[in-house]
Amino acid sequence: MNQNDKEHDKASRLIIKSFRLTLDGENFVVPIAAGETLLQAALAAGIDAPHSCTQGRCGTCMSWLRNGGVLMSATRALSKRNIENGYVLACQSRPSSNDPIWLDFDL
């Protein structure tokens, strides 16, 4: 990692808010930095959040957005029904509102 990357990494970890995450029946409060996806934040917090491709293709990180708003860069792994049910791809989701976010992996 060069100096620029270090600076970027440091900046990217400036925590702006936190969100609630449910996994295996446990609830976590996850700090999230500016520009991070919900998945990146969860992994940075040491949570074993399901994921694989991290490109929005496989759907492994599909989860239920029980509250709050996110903006997804890609939704190609989600069916129409998934979207109607409020499912999101954690690897593609960034907070888009000030509403508290609750992400539930226990589908």
Partner: protein, 264 residues
Amino acid sequence: MRIGTIESIWRYPVKGMRGEEIPHVYTAYTGLMGDRIYGVVAADGDPGHPWHTGRDQEEFVLYKACYNASEDLLLPSNLDATYSEWAPGIDPLYPDADAFKVNVETPEGAIYDDIENPEFIEDLEKITGRSLRIHASQRGIFDARPVSLISLSATAKLGEELGMHIDKRRFRANFYIEWDRSIQDDPFYELSLVGKTLKIGAWLEVSIVERDPRCTMITLDPDTAVATPKLLQHLGRKHDGDAGVFAAVLQRGRVNKGDPIFLK
């Protein structure tokens, strides 16, 4: 060294629809004869993966696609001649395009005698709200590689880990394998074969080229289309997202159910 047996052979006339078990099949460099000849292209699909599948419409996996002339699409009619008269074997003659006509039965019981009948696409468009068209290619329409394999020990072990029965058909493989447990006892043995060459039956040779990274298709029950996301979540958390392997064909040939598998 013999390491296993072909438990069953499957092909999927239409990409994303239900597959059919077949007793034997000719496998070419382009995969199994009759495998994934048709696909449904969505105008609003991902440019890199425009196919309409169960990823978009869960019930798509319940559509039954069958060749009108299924028996004619197992082995090329001149296969024996291409083996015996030309070493090391030349490309046999495939049936004409008409022989590949496919009929489709929807989960609701509607039957279309030809998938290329405009009525089929029109009705599917009404159901899905998408602009769709049929694409056909005798060379097969694969996401990644022409042949896929997974063992019954792997699917059983995943089921054991998750505490649920896992129907092998979720994995939509061409060859389901039973590994010889007297040789090794790793239920996911196929994952260790990447880079190795296998001989299957008397003729076919394949190179195992990579693990199969899975997507939401495996979450869909092949009989109900009900999704079980925890299967894919488990695979991502405990198995790097992979189940089964892809193969490239090195030597073409006929494969039969029950054929032995040798590690070269």
